[in-house]
């Protein structure tokens, strides 16, 4: 059985979104996923990190952290910020809901994460921060 874990912390700058994707993708690639599986994980991570940067910190300086754990064919990814937090998580999860329509946000971030990952849990507290936990199980390799 394969077990491994890592944690990365970076500044809340938009150029770090691509960086975060590569970090998680290259960690996940230990499980030898398919292109599609890896693309799903990268998309979900992108959405969570973008949310931390633009909603959590609203463009201000802050630190975003991502913890990853792999065990067997499963990857757990936790994206955290110490930003402004979400007052109503149920509302935030609704498809099309966005608090920033003026930024041309689609309101589909959480919906995308739900679609591409097997589990998503959101913990958030106003003025403390937000923690998004996602799990994906990769199909076992037949080849």
């Amino acid at each position: 059985m394969m077990k491994n874990s890592m944690k990365v912390e970076f500044m809340s700058k938009s150029q770090n979104e691509a960086f975060a994707r590569v970090v998680v993708a290259s960690f996940a690639s230990q499980l030898d996923p398919t292109i599609e599986e890896l693309a799903d994980v990268k998309t979900a991570v992108s959405e969570a990190v973008t949310n931390a940067i633009i909603h959590g910190y609203e463009g201000k300086d802050g630190t975003v952290s991502i913890s990853c754990r792999i065990e067997d064919r499963e990857i757990e990814i936790i994206v955290e910020d110490n930003g402004k937090g979400i007052e109503d998580v149920e509302q935030a999860r609704q498809p099309l809901y966005t608090s920033k329509p003026e930024l041309e946000r689609s309101g589909m971030g959480f919906t995308v994460m739900e679609t591409f990952m097997d589990i998503i849990e959101i913990e958030s507290q106003k003025d403390v921060g937000t923690k998004v936990r996602m799990v994906k199980r990769f199909a076992s390799c037949e080849n």
């Binding site: 960086f19 590569v22 996923p33 390799c141």
Partner: protein, 77 residues
Amino acid sequence: IGEIKRFLRDDGMIKVSRSLKQTAARVKSTKESLFKKIGREPTLQELADTLDITKEEIVMALDSNMQPDYLYDVIHQ
């Protein structure tokens, strides 16, 4: 359209490891042709623009290429 779907579906089944090896081979040959053209080593961004992929894809692909047998695979497939 059926053709495209089939292509996409096939693509989805491909292991990342294999696709990265293919990208690595393209990066290598593009790096050489760009060098000839501009007379110096191209930067990552110049390679990415020429190949129409992201810098990150190049970074990941280059590391999948550490073992020489991978290169052999790519060249002889």
